[in-house]
Subunit: 175 residues, 2 copies
C-alpha cells in the first residue's frame, strides 16, 4: 500500500468510527490520487462495501472542476466497478458513451426546496432541477433538513424532499 | 458562514480534538473553495493561530497540480496574511515577484534519507534536494521516522533529518 493508502485503510477499518464495519457506501476525495482507492478497496471489497468519489462539490468557487473532475472519472474507470460505483457530482460526469454504459450512480449535494439565495456561498437547486434537469440519481439534502428544530417538522420536510425527488425521477424515465 | 465554513469551524473549535485550542499551525485543503478559510479564520484569528494551505501533495498521480495549485496560491493571497501564512507544497509555489515579497512558508512532505524507491507510490527526495534544490523552508518526514521500532533509534533518525535539513538551509542562504 502507498502511504496514503495505508492511512485511509486504517481510518476506514479502525479508529473510533470503524467505518467499514457499518457503512455500505463511503465517499472519498480523489485528490491524493489512485492510492486512496486501492487502500480503501483492500478493506472494503472483502466486506462487500462500495466507494463513491467526490468528482464535484457544491460550495462556491471550489476547485473540483474541469481537469480535476475528468481525472476523478478516469480514476474510477481505471479502478473498476468492483468497488467504485459512482460519484458525488452536480450532474452527469459520465459524459462519454463508454462511461454511460457503466451506469454510474450520481449523488448530488446543494439541494434545497426553498433557499435559492446565496449568502451561504452555496448554490441551491431544487430536486426537480437536479434529478430531471441534470440527470442525477440521488439528492443529498443538508441544511434543508437539519436546520429545522422540531422532530416532526424534520420528518415532514424530509418526506417532501423524497416525494419531489421521486416525482422528478419518474418524469425523467418517461423522457 | 458558508455550510463548509460552518462545518470546519466546528471541527476546528469543538469535537473530540478541539484543534484550535492547542495547534499553532493547522493545514487545510483549499478544495472546497474560500469558504474553508473564512470558517477557520473566524476561530483561529482571535486565538493567534495560523493556517497552511495544501497546494501540492507528494503522493503518486495526485490531483493537486497545475490550475489547482495556482488557485490555492490565489486563495491564500486573497485571504491575506493575517491568517494564511504558507503552503504544503513540493517547491516554491510563490512564483510571481509579488508573491515572493510575502515570504510564504513552504513545508514539504515526501522527504526521506534512504528510500528513493517507489513501490510506495511516493517519490522521496532528500532534505538537501528539498531545501537547497527546491527552496522549501520546512521538511515533513513521515515513514522515515515513524517506521522505526526502537525509541532511541527514532530519536537518532529524527536528529539526522534535522541536521541534514539545517545544513541545506545554511547552504541555501549562502547562494
Amino acid at each position: 500500500l502507498t502511504p496514503v493508502g495505508n492511512t485511509v485503510s486504517l481510518q476506514y477499518s479502525s479508529g473510533t468510527h470503524r467505518i467499514a464495519s457499518w457503512s455500505d457506501l463511503t465517499n472519498a476525495h480523489p485528490l491524493p490520487g489512485p492510492g486512496i482507492i486501492s487502500g480503501l478497496a483492500q478493506i472494503g471489497v472483502p466486506l462487500g462495501r462500495a466507494l463513491i468519489l467526490l468528482a464535484e462539490m457544491s460550495s462556491k468557487d471550489n476547485l473540483a472542476t474541469g481537469e480535476y473532475t475528468r481525472s476523478a472519472m478516469r480514476m474510477a474507470r481505471e479502478a473498476g466497478r468492483e468497488f467504485v460505483v459512482g460519484f458525488i457530482a452536480m450532474g452527469r460526469v459520465d459524459e462519454s458513451e463508454e462511461d454511460q454504459k457503466e451506469d454510474w450512480l450520481v449523488m448530488t449535494p446543494g439541494v434545497g426546496l426553498v433557499a435559492k439565495g446565496d449568502k451561504l456561498g452555496q448554490q441551491y437547486r431544487t430536486p426537480r432541477e437536479v434529478v430531471l434537469g441534470s440527470g442525477c440519481d440521488v439528492i443529498i439534502v443538508g441544511r434543508g433538513i437539519y436546520g429545522i428544530e422540531e422532530e416532526d417538522a424534520v420528518r415532514a420536510e424530509a418526506e417532501r424532499y423524497r416525494e419531489e425527488g421521486w416525482k422528478a425521477y419518474e418524469e425523467r424515465l418517461k423522457l
